[in-house]
């Protein structure tokens, strides 16, 4: 994974978040507090704006820098979670490299583990982890099995979509929606939706390049 790809991915994620504004906003208004889209947009715009600075860094340093910047930019619950993801992914990339798909899968999983630890949450709690954990697992397993790149990327998109949809019938136990209890059943989690949107944007980019 080159720094150039990280920059392209940041742009693709930014564009995808903007394109899904009304969907993410209305999901968050239904069972959250209406700030998720604004916070994600602010984070994306900040990283896209750091393009020149990031371009001079190695991929692992770029990921860590993105994490630190997001920590001081996003705020809310997503800030520390997203920041922890990038900082842990950058750290893993530094330790074991991120040259091939299997290493990237390991680094991605380290990022997801950091979100689990920071948010003290796991799969089944109606959060972004219902997308991220299955995607990390599939990513690791398929790359370890030597599955070809295009198949892996398409499978990750499907896994993300499936994970996002599973949040609809879940009872929330973490995050702002948890205050609603049963009333949140029937609504997709906004964090799961934005995670799916971002994963699909990066996979589509990788499929094209």
């Amino acid at each position: 994974m080159q720094t150039a790809f990280i920059l392209q991915a940041a742009q693709a994620v930014n564009d995808a978040i903007l394109a899904h504004e009304s969907e993410i906003e209305s999901l968050d208004r239904e069972i959250g507090d209406g700030d998720h889209y604004i916070n994600m947009k602010r984070g994306c715009a900040t990283i896209v704006g750091m393009r020149d600075e990031l371009a001079t860094l190695s991929p692992d340093n770029a990921l860590q820098k993105i994490g630190m910047k997001l920590l001081s930019t996003i705020g809310g619950a997503s800030g520390p979670l997203v920041a922890s993801f990038f900082m842990a992914m950058g750290k893993a990339a530094k330790e074991q490299g991120a040259d091939n798909l299997q290493q990237i899968a390991t680094a991605f999983s380290a990022g997801v583990d950091a979100i689990k630890a920071r948010g003290k949450a796991d799969v089944g709690e109606k959060t972004m982890l219902d997308v991220l954990i299955p995607v990390a697992t599939a990513f690791r397993e398929m790359t370890a099995a030597g599955t070809d790149r295009a198949t892996v990327l398409c499978a990750l998109k499907e896994t993300a979509e499936k994970g996002m949809l599973t949040t609809r019938n879940m009872m929330p136990t973490k995050g702002r929606a948890a205050f609603l209890g049963e009333r949140a059943i029937g609504h997709i989690d906004a964090g799961a939706k934005s995670s799916q949107v971002m994963i699909c944007a990066v996979c589509d980019l990788a499929l094209k390049s």
Partner: protein, 329 residues
């Protein structure tokens, strides 16, 4: 949306700058990262730092000053502030006896303060407020929210810290006040986050949201509008069910407006709540009525009861000189 705004992105900075200019005798405002400290730094005491999303004013900026907070970190509207704000505020406010964070129990606030605490070069502790009884407490959930009772925690710990008490004592008093305080709120209208531009939730003219949080996040249930007495009965029952005060207990009764409800109606709620508490044999010896922990322009209010003892009463009564609370000095 009809709000007083120049540019939406400048709203917070302009509001903070205005706050600093209006109250320069009490606070000093710093931007980027955003934080407020006392105009004159207190020495040789535990530095009390709180913070949270903006839109709840006067919480927390209005409680910076003698007898309460040393610093506050305002986030974007309804969004937790970030660790760099807390670290910079701590650098500015710390005076040799450590830092106590007072944090409302919301996932974002807790995580951001937690990350700041991990990076803090000072002795530190955290009090997490969780007075909202609308949310069932369970090991499987994030737990109860911190709402209006946070003001009572900040006031009492602020008083103790002024005496030069150490970090452990301040933390212990904060936890004690929190455990003896319970709140519940009700919303009559929604609020509009300026950057979102439309109401956070839809509510009909004849409806109310029972157990609403301070961000307009829904509460226990949606109901038909009822009389003030009926609404207060539900709020007070939930609070007393949680606190289980012994008959004869002495309490502080706080009626907190979310902004859109006139003071006249807040006193209707106070009257109603006071009658109920007295009928249960409780002695209301202290009160606070007004808009202290607000929710942008939302109409609605919360009721808070704090079980007093000699220590809490003494710290509640002690002098305080902040923008929003000022007495005895």
């Amino acid at each position: 949306m009809k709000k007083f705004i120049n540019q939406i992105d400048d709203l917070l900075a302009e509001s903070l700058t205005g706050f600093g200019a209006a109250h320069r005798d009490i606070v000093s405002v710093h931007l980027d990262p955003n934080y407020l400290v006392r105009a004159s730094k207190a020495q040789n005491k535990v530095a009390l730092i709180s913070g949270g999303g903006s839109g709840h004013e006067p919480l927390h900026s209005g409680f910076v000053g003698y007898g309460m907070l040393d610093a506050a970190c305002p986030g974007h509207v309804f969004t937790s502030p970030t660790p760099d704000q807390m670290l910079t505020a701590a650098e500015a406010a710390e005076s040799g006896k450590g830092v106590l964070f007072i944090v409302k129990n919301y996932a974002g606030d807790v995580m951001n303060f937690e990350m700041a605490a991990e990076m803090l070069p000072f002795e530190h502790a955290t009090v997490i407020t969780s007075d909202d009884v609308a949310v069932e407490n369970s090991t499987y959930t994030t737990g109860r929210r911190g709402v209006a009772g946070t003001v009572i925690v900040e006031k009492c710990v602020g008083s103790l810290a002024e005496t030069g008490a150490d970090l452990a004592a301040c933390k212990a008093l904060g936890d004690k006040v929190n455990s003896r305080t319970a709140s519940m709120g009700v919303a009559l209208t929604s609020c509009t986050v300026p950057a979102a531009g439309r109401p956070t939730f839809d509510i009909e003219h004849h409806e109310l949201e029972m157990g609403v949080g301070i961000h307009g996040e829904p509460g226990r249930r949606r109901e038909k509008m009822r009389t003030a007495d009926e609404i207060v009965t539900d709020l007070v029952s939930a609070i007393l069910e949680d606190l289980k005060p012994a008959p004869g207990s002495e309490v502080l009764l706080m009626v907190n407006g979310f902004t859109g409800t006139p003071l006249m109606e807040l006193y209707v709620l106070y009257n109603s709540a006071a009658k109920l508490l007295e009928a249960k044999g409780l002695k209301i010896s202290r009160s606070l009525v007004g808009d202290y922990v607000t929710s942008l322009e939302m109409a609605g209010a919360s009721i808070t009861v704090c079980l007093l003892d000699n220590e809490i009463r003494r710290h509640w009564d002690s002098p305080v000189h902040t923008v929003a609370l000022r007495w005895g000095k």
